[in-house]
Subunit: 319 residues, 2 copies
């Protein structure tokens, strides 16, 4: 089998502060499109869609100075969630032609441990790219955080931070009752009081820092704060201090960190719930599509300044 | 019935920063030792033991600038937990001579709503003053935080902050494995790493600020942090910022505010558990006794600078 060209996106060096396109490198490598001898539990895949996710920023920092003990290896391809097609399989659960999603590398073809594959994709009547977003890790995170960790009940007041880049989009297209741009608010406490005169029952925390501080002043009795990320803090050398934590005592608030990996056993239940909503157009989903691996650095860097509108996807190949 | 002298401890004015003895006033008032006509649901009590508790500091601040929406009324007696003897009762559940504990006023005799009485004291073979501490609100708080909110299991690593004033006492008398003085630690993170090489499963949070920040770096997977107070923050005009909250994501930590009032339905179960331990000498309990209402300001102010050794109790009368 032929040695073929394999374009890759590498981390040039550890990053501090906001990442720049120049922190990443695009290189032409080569790969043999054949599983090496004795490659049990390894799968050769062609990458189709890659996901740009905020958590990737935490992997770009020097692990000695990071909240995340894991990190990318400088001069190696980034890793991340993606949708891929199996070219050759050394694992009994997968065969050539299967479409899968899980952790892969930012390159055209990847040799990955089968354990990095999260799920084989069974429902292909929806766009495959959705498995990087609403049907993949981010969708499952929202589902687990909202229903399992947050235990949100009908009628409760919910505040979601880092919901998306554009306020107009949130209100007019996604159907939120209200939306604000937290970066432009002078007095977030007053704004929250206006929008939530009765207080907030569930705060889906993705931001941290000043937003969390203002929310803590506005939580309702027995409120819940599922936390799966704190994007406002990822680019700071010195994180902002949260000063209002004492409020969780009087309001008996539960702040619960979680990672989606602990909830993947519910993925089947999640698909049963969300697929009909998508098919019937009851869930609005917007993607921001960048075409080609060479657009990877721009697409990834863009999510930290809110350039994307909707889920940022990078197309490597369409089949 | 005679009008009698009724010594009181009043809040002179709202306090900012550390409270001083001069923020409180001792005055001689008078009271008629007879229930007023038609005083249903009111009880006249003689106060025996008053409890000095950290939360009382939050009631001394101007409520407009405080984390606690409730506050003491300047020129009125302080309120707090205490053990009292019923002089005359306007409520069917209580009768003359009953010993009760609950919220009373810092004075010799008080006319209080029966709803402020938490429990009638049935077990009097232990010192009555214990019902301001180990058998009262603080003991019940420890029990609820440890077993209910923290869900602590045998074999887990537990860190308790603001456990008491004296390190030697904690190790030699109370039986803790190790103890540190958080005010003297230069690098609390390193100290915690040394004492908890495997990390902390349950952190009983009473302190907040820098201590919480260091603990967040040392929590174990699925760790729990019951929070019932943050004493280090009560005297600060500007609370310290907590910067390491993002760590609760990777470790899936649960930070849960609670107040003991939500757990009083377990008080009977708690007494069944703790009374035998006290009678058999299996729980070591130390009280720091101040004699007489006029010692109230000194005793109360002292707990914020760690002057007390063990539970600070103020004796108003011994029967």
């Amino acid at each position: 089998m032929a040695q073929v060209k394999n374009k890759q996106v590498l981390l040039k060096h550890y990053v501090s502060g906001f990442p720049k396109e120049s922190d990443l490198n695009i290189v032409d490598s080569t790969i043999n499109l054949k599983l090496p001898e004795g490659s049990n539990d390894t799968v050769l895949v062609k990458n189709l869609y890659l996901s740009c996710d905020p958590y990737m920023r935490t992997l770009m920092s020097d692990p000695k100075a990071s909240i995340n003990p894991r990190a990318y290896v400088p001069q190696s391809p980034l890793t991340g969630y993606g949708v891929s097609k199996v070219v050759e399989s050394g694992h009994k659960d997968y065969k050539e032609g299967d479409i899968v999603w899980g952790i892969t590398n930012w390159e055209e073809y990847s040799l990955i441990p089968a354990a990095q594959i999260h799920f084989k994709i069974e429902h292909t009547d929806v766009p495959l790219s959705y498995y990087t977003g609403i049907l993949g890790m981010p969708g499952m995170t929202a589902y687990a955080g909202f229903f399992e960790v947050g235990a949100t009940k009908k009628g409760e007041n919910v505040f979601v931070s880092a919901a998306s880049g554009a306020v107009d989009l949130l209100k007019n297209k996604f159907g939120y009752d209200e939306a604000i741009n937290y970066k432009e608010e002078q007095d977030l406490n007053a704004t929250l009081k206006r929008h939530f005169p009765e207080g907030i029952d569930v705060y889906f925390e993705n931001v941290g820092g000043k937003t969390l501080d203002a929310v803590l002043l506005n939580m309702r009795l027995q409120g819940r704060i599922p936390v799966c990320g704190m994007i406002s803090q990822y680019n700071l050398t010195q994180p902002e201090g949260v000063t209002n934590l004492a409020h969780i005592v009087y309001k008996r608030v539960r702040l619960q960190g979680f990672i989606v990996a602990d909830y993947y056993h519910l993925y089947g239940k999640f698909l049963e719930f969300v697929l009909p909503h998508i098919r019937e157009g009851k869930v609005v989903y917007v993607e921001d599509i960048a075409e080609g691996l060479e657009k990877g650095p721009e697409a990834l860097v863009g999510i930290f300044s809110g350039k994307n509108v909707g889920k940022q996807v990078l197309v490597v190949a369409r089949e």
